[in-house]
Amino acid sequence: MWEYTDKVLEYFRNPKNMGEIEDPDGIGEVGSLDCGDVMRLTLKIEPETEKILDAKFKTFGCASAIASASILTELIIGKTVDEALKVTDKQIIEELGGLPCAKIHCSVMGYDALVAAINNYRGIDKKEGNVICKCFNVTDKHIEEVVREHNLHTIEEITNYTKAGGGCGKCHPEIQEILDRIWE
C-alpha cells in the first residue's frame, strides 16, 4: 500500500542502535499504545562536553516509525546536546529519502522523542498546552509549533504531521481556529 524508499526498508529490516541504554542520562518517550505508535529514546551524555556518546531507541509502530527512530539515533550520536536539538524532522525524512504523506508524523515523533529526552536530561518538565485532539492526545501548543515550523495551512497537513484530527474529527473546528489565529 505505502511506497517506501529502499532506505526506509533497510532501516526497518536492519535497524541501527535498537535497544535501551543502561543507566541513561536522558529518556524520552512519546506516543501511546492506543495511538499505534510509541518511541522511546535513551541517551548517554558526557557531562563535561554534553556530547551524546550513545543513543538507543525502542519503537512500537510501523516501518516508518522504526526507521525514523533508528536514523534519528545515527543523526545525533557524536553531536552535543545543543547541536542535536537542531536536528529536525525534515532532516529525518531527507535522510530516509522521503516518507509517504500520511507517515510524516513518524518523523515528527522522532523529533519529539529527542526533545523529550533532552528535556529529561536537563530536568525540564515540559507538559504544556491543552489537549485539542482527544483521539491522539495532541495539545494546541504542539499543533502551533508544528504549524509554524512547517508552514502548514490545512487541517489535512496538520493530521499528516501530528495525527490530530485524524480520528473522530470533532476537533476540526478548534484546529481551524488555531490556523486562523496563526495566519490571520
Binding site: 535498537m18 518517550e29 499504545l33 499505534g36 525502542k58 512500537f60 510501523c62 522504526i66 485524524g166 480520528g167
Partner: protein
C-alpha cells in the same frame, strides 16, 4: 509465496480462466446486438446466470443480476430497495459491516434517512433482541452481513431475517465473505436481497452478482440501456460473467473441502501460532465463524511492521492496525467488538482458500515466531 489473504482477494481458478478466454478475442460480440455472432456471447450469459442461481439455490435465474463487484451489489440493493419505498426512511445495519454498507449508511443520513447501527458484543455478534426493538413502522430495510471479512464471524442470519419479515421489513445480506466458504441457500434463509463478489471466490476482479427475491420492488442504481432486464444498465462483462458462473459451480463442488480440509488447515495454523507465540489470542467468536479465517492479536507490536516482515518471507496476510487501514484509526470491526486500540493495532488476519496446503501452514508456523520476537525486542513494551 505463501498466500493467506484470501478474504482480500483470491487467485482466478484455472478452470475459470479457461472458461473466460474465448470471450476476449473470439466470441467478443455485444450480447445486446442483433446478429448471430452476438448470440455466442448472449447464451453463455444465460448459462452463467443459471450456475449462479443454482449455487445460491435461488430457484429462478430471473432473480440474479450481474454487477461489477460486491460494492456495487450492496449499493444496488440498498439504494434500490429504499428508493422503491419512498414512504419509509429508516435503515438498520451493523457496526461491523464492510465500508460499502457502513459508509453508505452515513451517506443515507446526509440524504435525510435515519439510520440505526446495531452494536456487536465482544464475539462480534449482534443481539437479536436489540434488532427486534430497533425496527419501527418507518423501517424500510435491514442489512446484516452473513460473515465478517476481518474476523470471519457468522451472523445469526436466518433468525435476523425472520424477525425482519415478522415486522414486514425487507432484509439484505452482504454474503461476499460467506459465499464459497459455507453453504448458502437463499430460499432456506429466505432473504430478499443478497450480494456476492467474484474475486473472493476465484473469479476475476470486476464482477459480482445480486440476488433479488421475486416480487421485491427495486429501482436501478445504474441507469442507461435496458441490460439485465432493465435492472442494471451497462454492457455486460461477458467474460467476467462466464467466469463468475464457473467459479460458483466450482464453489459448490469444493464446499465440502472448504468446511473440512481448509478448516483443519486454519485450525492447525491458529493453534500452532497461539502455542508458539505467548501473549497472543484470537479476536471474535471461535464457534461461529467461516472455516478459513483466523484473526489473531499479537501484543506489544504493530500490524504493518508484522505484515512487512512477513512479506520478506513471502507470507501475505492483512492487519487491523491503523497503519494498514488507510486511516489513522485501527479496524472499525475490532473497535466495535470492544477490542482496545492497543490490541487492535496488533491484529493480523490469515484467510485461507482451497489452494492452501499443509506446507503453507507449516511454513508460517515456522517463521512467524521469529518475526514476532524480533519486533517485540524492538518494542518498548516487549
Amino acid at each position: 509465496m505463501t498466500y493467506t489473504d484470501n478474504n482480500a482477494t483470491t487467485r482466478v481458478a484455472d478452470e475459470v480462466l479457461e472458461a473466460m478466454l474465448p470471450f476476449f478475442s473470439e466470441k467478443y460480440g455485444n450480447p445486446a446486438s442483433m446478429y448471430l455472432f452476438a448470440q455466442e456471447s448472449k447464451h453463455p450469459i444465460d448459462a452463467a446466470r443459471k450456475q449462479v442461481a443454482d449455487f445460491l439455490n435461488a430457484g429462478s435465474t430471473e432473480a440474479i443480476i450481474f454487477t461489477s463487484c460486491g460494492t456495487e451489489s450492496n449499493n444496488t440493493a440498498i439504494f434500490g430497495a429504499l428508493a422503491a419505498l419512498p414512504g419509509k426512511n429508516h435503515f438498520i445495519t451493523t457496526a461491523v459491516e464492510h465500508p460499502s454498507v457502513l459508509n453508505l449508511a452515513k451517506e443515507l443520513e446526509k440524504r435525510g434517512y435515519s439510520t440505526t447501527i446495531l452494536p456487536v458484543d465482544n464475539k462480534g455478534l449482534i443481539s437479536l433482541d436489540v434488532l427486534r426493538d430497533s425496527i419501527t413502522e418507518n423501517t424500510a430495510l435491514v442489512s446484516i452481513m452473513w460473515a465478517n471479512n476481518e474476523t470471519g464471524v457468522i451472523s445469526p442470519l436466518e433468525e435476523a431475517c425472520a424477525i425482519c419479515h415478522e415486522k414486514g421489513v425487507l432484509f439484505h445480506t452482504d454474503a461476499v465473505q460467506s459465499a464459497g466458504k459455507i453453504p448458502i441457500d437463499v430460499q432456506k434463509a429466505d432473504v430478499d436481497l443478497l450480494s456476492i463478489s467474484g474475486h473472493k471466490i476465484h473469479a476475476p476482479k470486476g464482477i459480482g452478482a445480486l440476488y433479488v427475491k421475486s416480487g421485491t420492488r427495486m429501482k436501478p442504481l445504474l441507469i442507461g440501456g435496458h441490460h439485465e432486464n432493465g435492472r442494471r444498465a451497462g454492457t455486460q462483462n461477458v467474460q467476467g460473467i462466464v467466469g463468475l458462473g464457473k467459479a460458483c459451480e466450482l464453489a459448490s463442488i469444493f464446499i465440502e473441502d472448504e468446511v473440512t480440509r481448509v478448516k483443519e488447515l486454519r485450525d492447525k495454523l491458529e493453534s500452532g501460532l497461539l502455542k508458539r507465540i505467548p501473549k497472543s489470542h484470537v479476536n471474535g467468536s471461535i464457534e461461529n465463524r467461516i472455516p478459513n479465517t483466523t484473526n489473531i492479536t499479537f501484543e506489544f507490536i504493530e500490524g504493518e511492521a508484522m505484515l512487512l516482515s512477513m512479506s520478506d518471507f513471502g507470507i501475505c496476510a492483512s492487519s487491523g492496525s491503523a497503519c494498514t487501514s488507510g486511516s489513522l484509526e485501527p479496524s472499525h470491526v475490532l473497535l466495535a467488538m470492544g477490542v482496545p486500540h492497543s490490541l487492535a493495532h496488533g491484529a493480523v488476519r490469515f484467510s485461507l482458500s482451497r489452494y492452501n496446503t499443509e506446507e503453507d501452514i507449516d511454513y508460517i508456523i515456522e517463521k512467524l515466531p521469529g518475526v514476532i520476537e524480533r519486533l517485540r525486542e524492538m518494542s518498548p513494551f516487549g
